[in-house]
């Protein structure tokens, strides 16, 4: 390590000591007693569940509107160039058609502000939408047809005749790699981290692996395709969207259409799966523009094909992992570098080196992310962007190294366990990674693994076990505000424009708010999914739980202070400060003297109030700057590989996680399992077929784009440490994304153990094993 780096790390350490630490969330210490008080940590069923299974939850594509028109898109069939001719006459003459909008008659609009360019921005791409004849990717919308029915719109869309002048396009990733460059930043982090001379250390290391790994493009395949139902009401714009970034979409659309933000309202009470894909794409902009042109409401519900063509997915990667080890297994060098495809008009460099920045100790590091610009649909976030594919490379390489060293892969991780964050030098806030391995190994029966590949066979089936590290950062987004409305009958409504995409957000936040206010969970409603509510933040980076909790904590602090003030001199609480009281049993009470208590109802009625409202902003998320805050896990996999056909079937899986306190075991299990299932798809079958001659996606359908079916998914066992992180609100880390991380490598390592074949390029299809 260079002197400079040592100094930097020391400085970081000092800094973190200097800054005052916020005391742990008091709710961490309060254990719920099921049936009595407190509901965090118990398996409250999903509040939105009954409505969904009864078909009563209304999604964006189902919102009724008078004089509704239905939109259908026409996609470009070249990757780059210009529209040479455009004939809409036949489409306009078709039955039921209201209008055809193209770049010729679309309202003038500003390009959307790109995500990350401003904390308020949501644009998945900064390209202008349908403003001129230029084409930037194969699949770009060139026309939208509005008609009185969806069928009429779909039909008329086939009648729009377009010809193109094609221009040379950058479509071949292997060729484009030579043109790669470092992005300015990777989600605000530097694209390159270098400590010491890692290449020299690698060259001098007695044992090493130096391997290239590849992962393909993936497309979003949420059960609910993207959709928007929109209308103008004079100068006001109403959008029923399916989104995971409500206020960001509003701010960005205000810019696109040049109208004040407060004239736009976006509602999104139910989102049928987001996974990073439900952002601001062309369709919302086109729907709003077309509604303006038509003077009628518009519904633009994307077909499955349209999702593949205009809503981006995970980009492809080529990664190098080189590990230089000493005889004792410690690392002299950890190198993780690589390139992904991106476009000039988006900013999503797929942070695949992030795991290597925080997982293992090494004497030298070289971690570098590069991007190469291609003519394609803007790529975007998809469940654990970076970590999902980054752990495939890193954790397969770890397995390869363990074999060279002839040590058990779990033992190797023990030897590499760092005392502090290996690249930032920050202290870990809460790290129990080795426990996830130990607990998981015991439960999974890791000791039954034979390290010699190909040594277990049952009939045609070769059986193998594999393990890999899972990891995901703790994020809490800056911004966000919550409002609590406490009513005289002892109920509370907690509101924040956050997002419920099926994770259980509404349920868990109702639980957390109930415990925070000392109310039973049935007496608390959590309101979300509407820009009319106080500002929420993006539902991304597994951050919502912490972000909402921090805002609700702030609002409840304000509420309690206000209640004490209004309680007056006749209250048992008279003269008590906020620090002396706690919320419990439907009111406030002295922390130590149980007799000093007054119910909310009593306080409010004495003060002559029907309800009391408190709203507050969340404090800025300083905790993750002072500490290295990450979640960890160990993924255990058993595969059966058919010796005749090469077919791989996962027969057992266990995920063991360290994500702070688990707030609702039922919801958490579902999130972890869902992540693991998506990881099985990543490992074994998912691949967007991007034809490098035309830039066209050739499998835009769920028949040909394979995700796991039920029969591909074995029983998945999930366990966790449940150790609270004292720096996180509620002691909890987000859990939405970590489940997918490490799965690719766990499967690949199990396949190696079964067959002796290393598959270094995903997906692991049977041809790679024949």
């Amino acid at each position: 390590m260079s002197i400079l780096d040592t100094a930097k790390q020391a400085a970081a350490g000092v800094l973190s000591k200097l800054r005052p630490e916020t005391p742990p969330d008091p709710l961490i210490a309060r254990q719920a007693t099921p049936g009595k008080h407190g509901s965090l940590g118990t398996s409250v069923p999903r509040i939105d569940g009954p409505r969904k299974v009864r078909g009563k939850a209304r999604f964006a594509a189902e919102v009724p509107a008078e004089h509704l028109t239905y939109g259908a898109l026409v996609f470009s069939s070249i990757p780059r160039g210009r529209i040479a001719s455009l004939d809409t006459a036949a489409a306009e003459a078709a039955p039921g058609v209201v209008l055809v909008m193209t770049h010729r008659n679309a309202p003038r609009m500003k390009p959307p502000a790109g995500f990350m360019s401003d904390p308020r921005a949501a644009g998945s791409s900064t390209l202008p939408v349908m403003q001129d004849a230029s084409i930037h990717w194969n699949g770009e919308p060139v026309a939208i047809v509005l008609a009185d029915s969806q069928e009429q719109a779909d039909h008329a869309a086939t009648l729009v005749a377009v010809t193109y002048e094609a221009a040379p396009a950058r479509l071949n990733f292997a060729q484009q790699i030579s043109q790669s460059h470092q992005p300015e930043s990777v989600l605000g982090e530097p694209p390159m981290i270098e400590t010491g001379d890692a290449e020299a250390a690698l060259a001098g290391a007695p044992i090493k692996v130096d391997i290239t790994y590849e992962t393909p493009r993936h497309s979003h395949a949420a059960i609910e395709p993207h959709a928007a139902t929109v209308w103008w009401d004079g100068e006001d714009l109403v959008i029923h969207d399916t989104t995971q970034m409500l206020h960001q979409t509003r701010w960005t659309l205000a810019g696109v259409f040049g109208i004040p933000e407060n004239r736009i309202r976006i509602l999104s009470p139910f989102v049928g799966g987001g996974f990073g894909g439900k952002g601001l794409w062309n369709h919302q902009i086109l729907a709003v523009a077309a509604a303006k042109l038509a003077g009628r409401p518009v519904r633009l519900a994307l077909s499955r094909e349209a999702v593949f063509r205009i809503a981006g997915g995970r980009t492809l990667t080529r990664q190098r992992v080189a590990l230089g080890a000493k005889a004792d297994g410690t690392l002299a060098a950890l190198i993780h570098t690589g390139t992904v495809a991106m476009t000039e008009h988006n900013n999503c460099p797929e942070q695949f080196t992030f795991p290597a920045r925080h997982l293992y100790s090494a004497e030298t590091f070289l971690l570098e992310q590069r991007v190469t610009d291609m003519d394609m649909l803007a790529n975007t976030f998809m469940r654990a962007p970076g970590e999902s594919v980054g752990t495939f490379a890193l954790e397969t390489a770890m397995d390869e190294l363990a074999e060279r060293l002839a040590v058990d892969p779990i033992e190797l991780r023990r030897r590499l366990e760092p005392q502090q964050d290996p690249t930032s030098g920050l202290a870990f806030s809460s790290r129990h990674m080795l426990k996830t391995f130990t607990d998981g190994a015991a439960r999974f029966g890791w000791d039954r693994r034979n390290p010699v590949p190909g040594s277990r066979r049952e009939g045609e089936w070769l059986i193998g076990l594999g393990v890999a590290t899972a990891t995901y950062p703790y994020y809490r987004m800056p911004g966000g505000a919550a409002r609590i409305t406490l009513t005289r009958d002892g109920e509370a409504r907690v509101a924040m424009a956050s997002h419920e995409m099926g994770m259980g957000t509404a349920t868990v936040q109702a639980q957390a708010s109930a415990d925070r206010l000392g109310l039973p969970v049935e007496r608390v409603t959590f309101e979300y999914g509407d820009t009319a509510l106080p500002h929420g933040t993006v539902a991304g980076g597994s951050s919502q739980t912490a972000t909402i909790a921090a805002a609700v904590t702030a609002a409840s602090g304000k509420l309690i202070a206000d209640l004490l003030q209004r309680a007056g001199n006749d209250s048992p609480l008279a003269g008590l400060s906020a620090a002396e009281v706690e919320a419990r049993d439907g009111g406030l009470g002295h922390r130590e003297k149980p007799e000093l208590f007054e119910s909310y109802a009593s306080i409010l009625s004495r003060a002559g109030l029907e309800e009391l409202v408190a709203e507050a902003d969340a404090p800025p998320p300083g905790e993750a700057k002072q500490f290295s805050m990450h979640s960890y896990g160990a993924q255990f996999c058993e595969v059966r590989v058919n010796a005749v056909t090469g077919e791989t079937r996962v027969s057992r899986f266990l995920g063991s996680f360290d994500c702070g306190r688990i707030l609702n075991p039922r919801m958490a299990t579902s999130q972890f399992r869902g992540g693991i299932i998506m990881g099985l798809g990543l490992a074994l079958m998912e691949e967007t077929q991007f034809d490098e001659r035309s830039g066209r996606v050739m499998n835009p359908s769920l028949a040909e784009y394979h995700v796991p079916v039920h029969a591909d998914v074995p029983e998945i066992d999930v366990i966790w440490t449940d150790i609270a992180d004292p720096r996180a609100p509620l002691g909890a880390h987000g859990i939405g994304e970590i489940g997918i991380t490490g799965v690719g490598a766990a499967v690949a390592n199990a396949v190696y153990n079964a067959t002796g074949k290393r598959v270094r390029s995903l997906p692991i299809t049977l041809d790679k094993l024949l």
């Binding site: 069939s77 039955p95 194969n138 069928e151 779909d154 039909h155 086939t158 045609e460 005749v644 056909t645 090469g646 077919e647 079937r649 074994l684 079958m685 077929q689 034809d691 001659r693 035309s694 066209r696 050739m698 499998n699 359908s701 028949a703 040909e704 394979h706 796991p708 079916v709 039920h710 029969a711 591909d712 299809t765 049977l766 041809d767 024949l770």
Partner: protein
């Protein structure tokens, strides 16, 4: 989707009359045709719904079994006589699509379903099957699911059906009814190789209706099976599949054998060469291997399906070996 007329046929004669009009197409369960209409790949002017025509499954006195063209895939796969006498057929159907699709899909529609070549499915791509003379983007494109046997420079598409592979192996006879009257075709003569006319999948004349198939009384088909190799456990088309029936004499030699392959050609591929080389040979792995090698000798793989000849050889050997070893009581699905 382009607007179209719809009529339900009350009997075969009416169906043929309506189906012989230009632009008319027969409609079975619609699980393939309607998809293609939605993708704008097919634009029939009228649909003649034939799901109300014969759907009976009958064992006849002469030992044959009759299956009406409107019989649903699920009904065929679950029929006791099919399960007992032709397990390969039952297994092949159950290996295909999903429960919901099989409940809708008819025998006639399954036979006439079109290729899953993704360039055929995308009207922005060149495809000689969809638009004769336009070219083929699959030959140098994504061709993992494409043909290794009997393809042409015009077309490398495969026939996607599982059921048809079993029917090809079982020597089924296809019954047709057209404006020129009724006729029959041996199953192997129903589907075509692409040659220079990949737009023609089958030997059917325009307007000709499939009324049913007849399974011959093939006693040793009771020892038959179907194995499908695919990219996920279910709900994926075959990369390679094998239907086979095997009759081994008391002396351990192959008395008779039927083998057909799926996922390798423009039609369900009856493995005549392998069958011929096996008859009279000892039913051993060595013979099976030699037969498989002979059948695949002319295989011409493309960029992404180079694995298929080896996969096909291995699967043939495994299926035949399994048939020699499996106890009779485990044969039926």
């Amino acid at each position: 989707m382009t607007p179209f007329d719809y009529a339900r046929a009350g009997d075969t004669a009416a169906a043929v009359r309506m189906g012989s009009v230009a632009g008319a197409r027969y409609l079975g369960g619609g699980t393939n045709l309607v998809d293609l209409m939605r993708e704008n790949i097919e634009q029939p002017a009228s649909l003649v719904d034939v799901t109300g025509l014969g759907s009976a499954i009958e064992e006849r006195a002469d030992g044959t079994v009759w299956i009406g063209a409107a019989a649903r895939n699920t009904a065929i796969a679950g029929h006791a006589a099919i399960r007992r006498r032709y397990p390969a057929l039952s297994r092949a159907i159950l290996a295909g699509a999903s429960g919901q699709i099989r409940n809708m899909a008819t025998l006639g529609g399954n036979l006439l379903q079109r290729t899953r070549c993704t360039y055929f499915y995308d009207d922005a791509a060149r495809c000689n099957k969809r638009e004769p003379g336009s070219g083929c983007d699959a030959i140098d494109g994504f061709n993992r699911i494409h043909a290794i046997l009997g393809a042409s420079v015009a077309c490398v598409a495969t026939h996607p059906s599982d059921m048809c592979v079993a029917l090809a192996a079982l020597d089924a006879v296809v019954h047709l009814e057209g404006s020129a009257g009724a006729r029959t075709l041996p199953f192997d003569a129903l589907h075509r190789l692409p040659g220079g006319r990949p737009d023609r999948d089958t030997e059917l004349q325009p307007g000709e209706l499939v009324t049913g198939i007849e399974l011959p009384s093939l006693a040793f088909a009771a020892r038959s099976t179907y194995r499908k190799v695919r990219d996920r456990s279910s709900y994926a088309f075959a990369l390679v599949s094998v239907a086979a029936a095997l009759d081994v004499g008391g002396d351990g030699t192959v008395r008779d054998v039927r083998i057909a392959l799926g996922g390798v050609a423009h039609k369900p591929w009856r493995a005549h060469i392998a069958e011929q080389s096996l008859r009279g040979q000892p039913a051993t792995e060595a013979s099976f291997r030699a037969a498989a090698a002979a059948e695949l000798a002319d295989a011409a793989p493309l960029t992404h399906n180079a694995f298929k000849p080896e996969l096909a050889r291995r699967t043939i050997v495994a299926v035949l070996s399994g048939l020699t070893e499996t106890p009779m009581k485990e044969m039926a699905p």
